[in-house]
Amino acid sequence: MINAHAHIFNVKCAPDRFYGFPVARFFSHVPGAARRLARWLRVINPFSNQDMLERYAKMIEVGAEKTQRNIFVQLLEYYQAYPNAKIVALTLDMDYMGAGTAVNNYVTQLNEVADLKAQFPDQLIAFFCVDPRRPNVLALLKEYVEHRGFTGIKLYPALGFFPFDQALLPVYEYAIGKNLPILTHCDIGGIYYRGPLSGEHLAPASLNPHVPRRNFVPHAEAKRNKFKDFFSDPRNFEDVLTLPQFAELKICLAHYGGSEMIEGKARTLTNHNWYQSIRQMMQTYSQVYTDLSYTLHHTHDAVRVPVVNDIRHPQLRNKILFGTDYYMTVREKDEPTLVEDFKNKYGLTAAEFDHISITNNRAFLTTRFYQP
């Protein structure tokens, strides 16, 4: 089986105000502090092993691991029951999210993951996170794909850029040339850009010459955690996919838009339902996928029923990938419980689970040079 969506970056890779207040720096400069905090959170309610504080404590504890290797090895152990399990480790470039600096900058994070790839060539599938604001990002991407074993691209537009940013044009050209998969965050939750909004944020130009500049100026005063939905909106990718040269670009719009979108409860500034957009895009474009990461922890009918229906839908069944979003999910369930609950409570047959976790993931992750 392949887990197509996991994170292994530790708190040293997270900028100062990753959580919104300067706690990451403290945790990363004082080794052991997060672990101690986690212990104290447990002391507050020692009688339950499933309360909210306990679960947050667990997440902090995983993130506080000294190295990314520790997090990866721990995750791999959870999949001992699955022979030849492979994990997609998504790196994250948080250097431009306007939340201060991280102890380990993005290049340090990449270097550690590259070393890890060399140690676990068959178990680790490394994705390179592209932020178009990084100078010479294409050269760096090429180095890591061509020499250091990275086989996919991660985008996290909520960190302050649009997927139709003109600076991404050479990246998409490179991706299509190598048939590299691109996985993008597509949920209203998660971390987001905390810096000031510039002209390019409020009236961005598209790499698609047929699409006029968008106008977000009326939302200039919106809170960042709301404005970020403009960055993450899955329809942004239509600017790219409608260009003939990118019609075959392999893109996974992760999280299936998020559980709130599936339930129809989510409210964005445009009140648009991302889940419906993703469904429609998967049917329109041959290489658009989604994954169930994070969303799969919800097992109630409002989420479960539409997801199961889609897994069995003839036009969508080859487009849905299995991934968990470890270790963000640790605050909901531990990894083995998450996987087992998903298999049991979603009522999937073994063949259906294998289809999304092996067949679909393999199709998405296969490149011109790599076969998972």
């Binding site: 290797r69 520790n70 102890v103 900058n105 074993g149 296969t366």
Partner: protein, 353 residues
């Protein structure tokens, strides 16, 4: 003896006893988590030099290198000490590998293959130079270039790094000592407030009450006559230090000095609180009893405990105490000798400590 000397000797003895209590607590702290504090400081010191924002955090590479990784006491702890030779060897290896990284290629079936670089010892120095040359301009690059400029081969390079590291560690030791002194000051403040040891009230009591000074003078003469008093303290085990701190605290309490919170509360109220809390007998009950007494005292005499005079009295006492037991022992000896009679023979020379 002139009252001024009696007063001074008694006050110095109070400083000495309190600072001995604080030293014992600080030693206790250092032995439990101090080693970790040293390890964190070492990590932060290396982070300060090798976290290169223009390139990457080389401290991370150093700590992930097997030469250093294996010196960690366990998975989640950092090494408290790193030898200069280990750092020099690790640093050169990190940059040599930077110049010739391992690479990943793929078979025709799409399987990844790892290619370990083959580095001959003779080319390591050149590879180090090459790796430094390809770095973006930064402080780390300048530092590494300065090592390179003074060396002609890998051995000389390592010697350069070792001598730099040793000099840097001397500075780090200075930072560590300053950090410990800050801890000592914080512990002093906590102890002084916990004991309600207000310098002004204690001084006033000692100045006016001859009977209060008398037993303290005897104890001071006894201590100053014992040149091994401080060394004895340093040779004690943790448990012995705890016992000694406890006995010194008891001797301060029994001396009748205006120290502590409970003693200030009228007896009737003490009894009433005792009936309510202490019969339960646990350590927590004792702490709750102390807290209840403080609350009652503050309720009865709020203004006194939050007056500028009390706060200043606590702070000055804490400052005096944080100077340390050896300092006050020496001062006590000097003043006892200064009064002209040296260490006065005691009527009963049996050791009272």
């Amino acid at each position: 003896m002139a009252p001024i000397f009696e007063f001074l000797i008694a006050l110095l003895l109070v400083f000495l006893l309190l600072s001995t209590i604080v030293s014992s607590l600080t030693e206790f702290y250092s032995s439990r988590i101090g080693k970790n504090a040293r390890a964190v400081l070492l990590y932060q010191a290396l982070l300060k030099v090798f976290n290169d924002r223009h390139n990457r955090n080389y401290t991370d590479d150093l700590y992930r290198h097997p030469l250093i990784e294996n010196s960690k006491p366990d998975e989640n702890k950092l090494p408290a000490y790193l030898e200069a030779s280990v750092v020099a060897r690790t640093l050169t290896d990190v940059f040599v590998r930077e110049a010739r990284k391992l690479s990943v290629t793929y078979t025709s079936a799409g399987r990844p293959q790892i290619h370990e670089p083959d580095i001959a010892p003779t080319e390591a120095f050149q590879l180090f130079r090459q790796a430094v040359g390809s770095m973006h301009t930064s402080e780390v690059k300048k530092l590494l270039q300065s090592f390179l400029n003074a060396s002609n081969n890998l051995d000389e390079l390592r010697i350069q790094i070792e001598s730099w590291y040793n000099a840097y560690m001397d500075r780090v030791s200075g930072w560590y000592k300053r950090k410990l002194r800050r801890h000592l000051l914080v512990t002093s403040v906590v102890v002084v407030v916990f004991l309600n040891a207000d310098l002004f009230r204690i001084s006033t009591a000692l100045w006016h009450d001859e009977k209060l000074r008398e037993p303290l003078l005897q104890q001071a003469v006894q201590i100053s006559g014992d040149s091994t008093w401080i060394q004895q303290q340093q040779g004690l085990s943790l448990e012995q230090r705890k016992l000694r701190a406890d006995s010194l605290y008891q001797s301060l309490k029994l001396s009748g000095l205006p120290i502590g919170w409970v003693s200030e509360l009228p007896v009737a109220q003490q009894q009433e609180l005792k009936k309510k809390i202490v019969p339960k007998g646990s350590v927590w009950a004792k702490i709750r009893y102390q807290v209840a007494c403080v609350r009652e005292l503050i309720r009865l005499n709020y203004h006194r405990y939050f007056s500028l005079s009390t706060l200043l009295g606590w702070f000055l006492m804490a400052f005096a105490v944080h100077l340390g037991a050896p300092f006050w022992f020496e001062a006590l000896n000097k003043v006892v000798n200064l009064r002209g009679a040296g260490a006065k023979p005691l009527p009963n020379p049996s050791p009272a400590r």
